[in-house]
Structure formats: structure tokens, C-alpha cells
Symmetry: C2
Subunit: 327 residues, 2 copies
């Protein structure tokens, strides 16, 4: 673990000691006392690597619980690994510390990471701590592994495949709406469930590696179901047709927004779901059901390009949200 920022050096050494227990189980972390870390991968596996940064005021608020911020920072990366079929192995933490961050905050942040390390079987192996005059910025690089050559890509969808998605869609967006004062008809538990979906992603880490040899293409749903399927459509060179009526919605979401086309458009363009959208041959349906995870078939892959969301009467719904104008 390295650090910089001139006169705060002693402080940063204390921080390195605070994070050292998170590296205790991974020999390659060298207790965070070296310039670099070592990862000894099995000879028949590829490294799968991804990075995501979260910024105060953009991805979280200063007053959010530090453990929640820690978990969100780690889990957005775990979600990427899961969508690729990879098993999490280790991560590096690049922390740009705003002046308001104190010992209490850091202790709770480290506790949040520790809890998730237990849950997801991943360990801290390195990092960098720097003082910033700006907002707190957390950049995590997650390292996973997968059988050589088997990473599930965005580019493998072919015409004739079916389209699937895990869990329910739109809950994180609904959670944000609740935080902004919406959801007056919901009871306390329903509100809490939606807010939890917004605050702490639940990456599909247990499912991801089981999609190997099943999914032809996959992506984690972070920008929004339609936008993310558009990435698969573009890299695979196909058209994806989603039937609005099949998009899985949670009970609290339906309670809040109903289930008509407008509600489904809201869900499918809201983002932050951290579910996995994937394509697979129709012949894989039985195996997918046999996995025992909540997975819904929502559409099909055709020749062509782009993503179409079909209403119940078979018409293409108009998606006007900024950022999706190219559909």
C-alpha cells in the first residue's frame, strides 16, 4: 500500500495499518507493506479485471453510512465480475481522501469492506491513499478468475437466442424516488426494501460463474436494462427485442408505479439494478430453470441492430430518456 500527500504521511501509515487486517488472509497482499501485490492464478485460468470509481456527491452522499459506501464501491465491481462468469479473487483500493474524512469514518468504511470480503470471498491485496482537496473518491480494481478463454462477453449473442434477466428491474430507481419523498402509499418495509436496492447493490456473484457454458453474452445492468442490452446488441451485431409485459417488476415497484407501459419504461431505463442480463440458446432454457435463481425470459435476439421494447399490443415503445436517443 502506497501513500502520498506530503505532510500526512504518518497519518497514511496509520491508515495502512487500519486496512491491513483486510489483507490478512491473502498471502500475496504481503500485509500491504510492499510496492505491489502478487496474485498466483491457477495455471488454467484467465485473470478477469475491472475498475470502477465512486465519487462523493455523484455516486454517494457525504452523510451516507461509510459501511454502505464501502459495500457499494466493492459491489459495483463484483457485479461486473459476476456478469462475466468470473469468480472474485482480490481487489485494490485507491482512496483519495477529502479533508473531512476522519478516523471514525475510515474505521466504519474498513468494517464495511471486511463484512463484504466475508460474504463474497475476496480480499484486499493492495492500494493507494492520497489526500485530495476535492470530494472523497474511491476507485476499486477487482480481480477475478475464470477458466481460460471462457469469459462471458458482450459480443456473443446470435439471432435466435433468448434474452434473460435476473431478479427484478427498476427497484433502485424506485428507491431513489422514495428517498426524494415518493412512495407515499408504500408501507415501511416496502420503502426500506426499495431504498436498500438503491443503496447497496446485490451482485449476482453466486450465479455468475454458473452461467458459463450457458450464456452466449452477458452484461451487468447498471446503466439501465435497455441501455445495457444495447451494449450487447452493438458488440454482438444483433437486434434485441424485449417484451415489456415480461420485464420482471417487484411488488413494491408495482405498488408505487403500477405495471403499465410507462412504469415498465421507467424500470427499464432507471439503472443501478446490478442484475445480470444475458442471452442464451433456447435449448438452454431447462438448464437455466434448473439453476434455481430468479431468472426471467424477457425477449429474443434477431438479425439487425438496436434494442426494441415492445408493448403488449406489439408496438415499439418510444424511449425518450436522455442518453438513449440513439435507439
Amino acid at each position: 500500500m502506497t501513500s502520498s500527500g506530503s505532510n500526512r504521511l504518518g497519518e497514511f501509515e496509520a491508515i495502512a495499518k487500519l486496512f491491513a487486517p483486510l489483507a490478512a488472509k491473502e498471502p500475496g497482499a504481503l500485509s500491504l507493506t510492499d510496492d505491489a501485490a502478487i496474485l498466483d492464478l491457477p495455471f488454467d485460468e484467465d485473470l478477469v479485471v475491472t475498475v470502477d470509481a465512486l465519487i462523493e456527491g455523484v455516486h454517494f452522499l457525504r452523510d451516507d453510512p461509510p459501511a454502505t459506501i464501502a459495500k457499494k464501491s466493492l459491489r459495483v465491481n463484483l457485479s461486473d465480475l459476476a456478469a462475466k462468469g468470473a469468480t472474485p479473487r482480490a481487489y485494490l483500493l485507491s482512496l483519495s481522501l477529502a479533508s473531512w474524512v476522519g478516523d471514525d469514518w475510515l474505521t466504519q468504511f474498513a468494517r464495511g469492506l471486511g463484512e463484504d470480503q466475508e460474504q463474497y470471498g475476496i480480499a484486499l491485496i493492495g492500494g493507494d491513499t492520497t489526500a485530495t482537496p476535492g470530494p472523497l473518491t474511491i476507485s476499486i480494481t477487482a480481480l477475478g478468475s475464470i477458466a481460460k478463454g471462457m469469459m462471458i462477453r458482450r459480443s456473443g449473442a446470435v439471432a435466435g437466442d433468448c434474452v434473460f434477466v435476473t431478479g427484478t428491474i427498476g427497484d433502485a430507481g424506485a428507491g431513489l424516488a422514495v428517498l426524494k419523498g415518493g412512495g407515499g402509499t408504500l408501507d415501511k418495509n416496502e420503502r426500506a426494501a426499495l431504498i436498500a436496492r438503491y443503496r447497496i447493490p446485490q451482485p449476482r456473484s453466486a450465479l455468475g460463474p454458473r452461467l458459463l457454458y450457458i450464456a452466449s453474452a452477458a452484461i451487468d445492468v447498471s446503466d439501465g436494462l435497455i441501455a445495457d442490452l444495447a451494449h450487447i446488441a452493438e458488440t454482438s451485431g444483433v437486434r434485441i427485442v424485449v417484451e415489456a409485459a415480461r420485464v420482471p417488476l417487484s411488488d413494491p415497484f408495482r405498488e408505487m408505479f403500477g405495471g403499465d407501459d410507462e412504469a415498465i419504461i421507467r424500470a427499464a431505463t432507471a439503472g443501478d439494478d446490478y442484475e445480470i442480463a444475458f442471452t442464451a440458446a433456447a435449448s438452454a432454457r431447462a438448464r437455466i430453470e434448473g439453476l434455481g435463481f430468479p431468472i426471467t425470459e424477457i425477449g429474443r435476439v434477431e438479425k439487425g441492430e438496436g434494442v426494441v421494447l415492445l408493448s403488449r399490443d406489439g408496438k415499439a415503445l418510444k424511449l425518450s430518456k436522455p442518453g438513449f436517443t440513439h435507439f
Copy 2:
């Protein structure tokens, strides 16, 4: 390559396209169009991984040339890999973009990365782009590889070893002093040479992998020669004695500060040298000379703890710089 920051999505897709040529030679980068990248390591090698963040106003200034900022961001990481004996393989770029960053800046930044990729044989394999309300923040995760189990650690120094350092020490600090108006007696070329040492690190990437089977411990000199040797002393559980008269100084540095004990203390505590300090058995001296790199023997490893800088008359010099008070 992922991106976030709401309404700048279209802009970030343009940025991903700008960086895509930097990933063209590395198949595992998947043209930066997937959630994660793949690195297929040789079966007999370990992954060596390190991360460093550079922040506007802390590590560079807004007006610094973008290509210089790019190279510094990459090279501080390459220096870590070199000190570990690792061969650079690939890197991930986490970019938190301040609002003042425009297309021109990004184009020049990408050009700087491209030039260094050619020079150091490394390729971009993934990244994340985010809008920040704060300073431009660049976090790079560098991936290298090394024969399994052979990474050179900080912890391998033993009593009886000799201490070596590459190149010359203190030039980056002197370059900063020149930028602040010092160095009036230097000619233009000398000033330029020192400033270059400050602005753009020259990592010892060609040497690093050749120190395998030679160095017992190594570290890149970034905090300052004495501070970094103290890291080796601490993790190895030894005492390191450096003879001030043997610390290698450049001609421009001597021209500016002379070569007395005070000048040497300045050099050995200045930081940002990005040379490699390492320990090796006395029996390795001939092989070290045979490497054909500028390497100077500067001291010895003893039983005990801490780092001592000995003056010509054998007295321990007092080092009062903040951050070094524990010696």
C-alpha cells in the same frame, strides 16, 4: 470501459472511442467494449499488481502538459513494477474528469499514454470514466508478471548484504527547486535536465526484471531514499547504514547544492527519484556491475533496525524532515 455521471453518457462514449486505439494491440482488452478485461498469463508466472492515483493540485498542476501528466501517471506505477522485478503487461485507467477537461486535453493525454505504451511495452486493457465536481483524478492500476514466487520484496534483506541504488538521487527535488526560482547558477540544459526529472519519472523498467536472482530486497525510491530504505529495514527486520559520501549525485545537483552533508541529506530525503534501491549479497557485486546499468553501492545491511546516514567522519547525520522523525 465503463462510465458514469448521468447526462454526460454520450460524451463518455466518445472518450471510450478516443482511448480504444490504446487497447488495439491487446486482445484481452476487448476494444474496451466489455464490463471487464481478460489477461492470459503464462502458466508459470505470477501476476504483480499495483495502483497509484495522481490528483490535480497535489501531484500535478492543471497547466502541466497533458501528455506529461499521462506519462507521470503511468510511470509511477511502472516504477513500482520495475522495483519488484516484474515485466509490465497492461494497465487500467480510472479517470475522474473535472469539468474543465476538454477534448483537446483528452486527446493529448491519450497521445502521452500511447507514446509510453510503445516505450514500455504495455497496453490499456480497461478503465472507468466519471465526472467529478472536484479536481481531475487519475488512478492507474498496472499489471505485470514475473516467474512464479520470484517477486522481489521489501522483506528479503539480511545482515551482511550490500545496499545499492540506481542512477542519481535528489534530481527531482532539485527540479522542483528550479521551478520555484532556484538554480540561478545553472545553464539552460542543466535546469531542463533537473525539471525533466521532476516532471517525468524514468522508471527502471529495463533493469527491474534483471534484478531477479540478484536483489534480496528492493523498493522504488518515491518517498525519498532514506524513507524508502526505512521501509526495507522495517519489513526485513534489519538496520541499514548508508554512507553519505557514496550517495550518487548528478552534476547539475552538485552545481546547485554542492556535495556536503547538508546537500546529501537534501538529496536523500527529497523523493520522486523513481530509482530502485536494493540490497544484495556482496557476492553479487560482479553480476551487478555486469548488468551495464548505472548502479552505485551506498551502504550495508546490519542487524538492528532503522536507517542511518553516516557522514564522512562516521557520525550519524540528523534527519529532521517531517515524516522521518521516527529514525
